[in-house]
């Protein structure tokens, strides 16, 4: 297993699966401005997927391209964290998930801009502006709804409680990460945790929300060992045309 390929799949699968989830909101959001913003976020994430998985395919050198990786791998070959494959829930949970992810994504990309691999540094540079904007929006929404009405507060607290156990996986470190950190290609995820906690603590304080005490973390997504039941359904939908009509071009 090539660590670079593995790492690039982790990046690209996160953006692909989250982009898919966010796109499910299209036409169904609570406010028109949110519909536009969510479609825009999904669009950015799909564009980022093309870059990450495109590079993954290139590194792999097995004749696959980004579409083949996205549309023909089965669930166990996906390397996204569990957080992004969870169903959307209500709008509050969707925005909470976005904020928890964006806060990490933004930190990682800042580090990756200094990657010793120029191709990775270039993607990080290109995508970090988009992600900074995603974070600004998701953060504002979490704060607005957390510190809004009694109902919106309760829903946002419930969302944070439900999702927080999926945050820890973002900071897991394994042999892949060690190899990449050693080569200066990518940061050791564990090293980002303090900066992340500082951010999230600030956001949640402003949102008048309480971060759960437990650091318990569900994992199994970024190494593909045990995804949730939800990923299979997501892939069934996303990959259906390519699998029903193999060999067609679209």
């Amino acid at each position: 297993m090539d660590p670079a390929f593995e790492f690039l799949c982790r990046m690209g699968d996160n953006t692909l699966v989250l982009g898919h989830r966010v796109s499910e909101w299209c036409g169904h959001s609570p406010v028109l401005e949110e519909d536009i913003a969510l479609a825009n976020t999904a669009l950015d994430l799909i564009g980022q997927t093309q870059l990450w998985l495109g590079l993954a395919a290139e590194v792999e050198g097995a004749g696959r391209d980004a579409d083949a990786l996205a549309m023909t791998r089965d669930a166990w070959d996906f390397r996204n964290v569990l957080l992004v494959e969870l169903p959307n829930g209500d709008f509050g949970r969707t925005m909470m998930r976005q904020c928890l992810f964006d806060a990490w994504h933004d930190l990682v990309l800042a580090e990756l801009r200094d990657s010793t691999d120029d191709r990775i540094a270039a993607i990080a540079d290109k995508t970090s502006r988009e992600v900074a904007y995603h974070l600004e929006r998701s953060r504002d929404t979490v704060i607005g709804l957390g510190d809004g009405t009694e109902e919106s507060h309760a829903r946002m607290q419930a969302a944070l409680d439900r999702l927080y156990p999926y945050v820890g996986e973002l900071f897991e470190t394994d042999a892949v990460d060690a190899a990449l950190a050693e080569a200066g290609i990518a940061p050791d995820p564990g090293n980002l945790r303090d900066a992340y906690d500082a951010r999230i603590t600030g956001i949640m304080a402003e949102a008048t929300l309480t971060i759960p005490d437990s650091r318990f973390a569900h994992k199994g997504g970024r190494d593909g060992v045990r995804h949730t039941e939800h990923l299979g359904h997501l892939l069934t939908e996303m990959q259906w045309l390519q699998r029903a009509y193999p060999g067609a071009t679209w």
């Binding site: 609570p30 949110e34 809004g148 390519q242 071009t249 679209w250």
Partner: protein, 325 residues
Amino acid sequence: MYAQMIQSEKTDEDPRALAEFQARIDRGEKIEPKDWMPEGYRRTLIRQIGQHAHSEIVGQLPEGNWITRAPTLERKAILLAKVQDEAGHGLYLYCAAETLGISRDALTEKLLDGSMKYSSIFNYPTLTWADMGAVGWLVDGAAIMNQVPLQRTSFGPYSRAMIRICKEESFHQRQGYDIMMKMANGTPEQRRMAQNALDRFWYPSLMMFGPSDAESVHSAQNMAWKIKINTNDELRQKFVDQTVPQAEYLGLTIPDPDLKWNAETGHYDFSEPDWTEFFDVLKGDGPCNAERMEARRKAWDEGAWVREGLLAHARKKRAAKTAAE
């Protein structure tokens, strides 16, 4: 069209003021929100722009139906961008309507209680990927037919919204046609999907222009006010004349045995759509009316706590700011 069968509202103002107003329109001047305007002009425009806006919003649903199943990352991105554009069109149009003194929320409530309509076309289902091609090619194509002349409409904010919108609509039509090309030149199954999509969307697209209004008094008033620029039949003919060669180029057959070139008129002769079906759809009995309205109501009802939460937060912030000053 996106705004179908707009009846003009009665006006009984001072004849001299009306004549002056008409003279401004005849001179090609734009009417701006602060200018005097006949009540009928204002109310007709609210209905037309509102219906147009609702169509953009409901129009997200049939295409949104395929975003999660788009066959490639590129197609997914293009479709997302398109649906996002439609939401943006809705936003510009609601803003244009607001300048006439009606809020977006009030318009939305009229959509949800059924007192305002949206275009009949969005009550048809999108059943295969080729429908994403057919919708872009035919539906956006028909919309462009109507909206290009509306760039010259007399009401300034509406005209300016149309100018912005038309730029994006031509991109929508091109991407739709591009999907059709791929499908029509693809595998036998893809060809079958493409023909099937054309079969299902042809007549509903012709219906978008509305029934013949050459004899309608409403239409005459709206044309005098430059709220309407062409008759429904003119636009429909133009659409057929433009689309037939495009279908031929794709190698697809338009589902009308009587369609033929008429050398004398210089236009295609074609069959009228089934207007009974059109009126059924307008009444609420189209294939997807119930689903479309359910989806919009659900979005609105389940979003209430979000809108209230964000408003409450904005109020708190304003209060804190004033307290600090």
